[in-house]
């Protein structure tokens, strides 16, 4: 792993078109600004890992399909709103 030290307002370039800028630093938190072309996907790593895990589970669940779904109702987002 390459380790670089940067100050507020300083930047790092990854390749020619991705720039990461340190915007602010406060207790245990760094705020970063990222400029990248639209086709570059940017994710918070822990969310990416969670989504990846669920996607793998989903792909493995294909054969688990229950037979009779006719009696069930779709749970709508608006149902939740009514309850709260």
């Amino acid at each position: 792993m390459l380790i670089l030290t940067r100050k507020i307002e300083e930047e790092i370039k990854i390749g020619s078109d991705v720039t990461i800028k340190v915007l602010s630093i406060s207790e245990g938190q760094v705020k970063l600004g990222i400029s990248a072309p639209g086709n570059v996907a940017i994710f918070r790593s822990e969310i990416y890992e969670k989504v990846k895990m669920v996607t793998i589970e989903a792909s493995e669940s294909c054969t688990e399909k229950p037979k009779d779904l006719s009696k069930l109702k779709i749970r709508k987002i608006s149902d939740e709103d009514e309850r709260s």
Binding site: S59, C62, P66
Partner: protein, 126 residues
Amino acid sequence: MKIKTQLFGEIEFKEDLIIKFVPGPIGFEQLNKFLLIKADDDIFYWLNSIEKPEIAFPLVGIRIIDDAFPEERNFEPFGIVTLNSDVLKITVNLKAPVYINQISKTGFQKILDTDKYPIRYNLFKE
């Protein structure tokens, strides 16, 4: 073209039905070609990989769950479903929807920058 799927056995299709994902779904970025299959007896769609036909993702159209779901111009939002033999444990990933344009035959997955939509949303209620 022909592929051997896990769910529907061998299926034959015309190349112009291929939906391109560049990159592929999260965790499967190397998979770029899919078929969107709809069995007519229920609400599920299947996004079946052409490069690795043994891999398929169950999908559900998110419009049936939420009218106000974030839109992408000309694309239809789908949620990847984790099936379960216990129907009340079936969940949909609403945090990272798959958007598909069935005309231009392109698709992409996006992670929404909001906490409104959970990764595991229970699809059915009694």
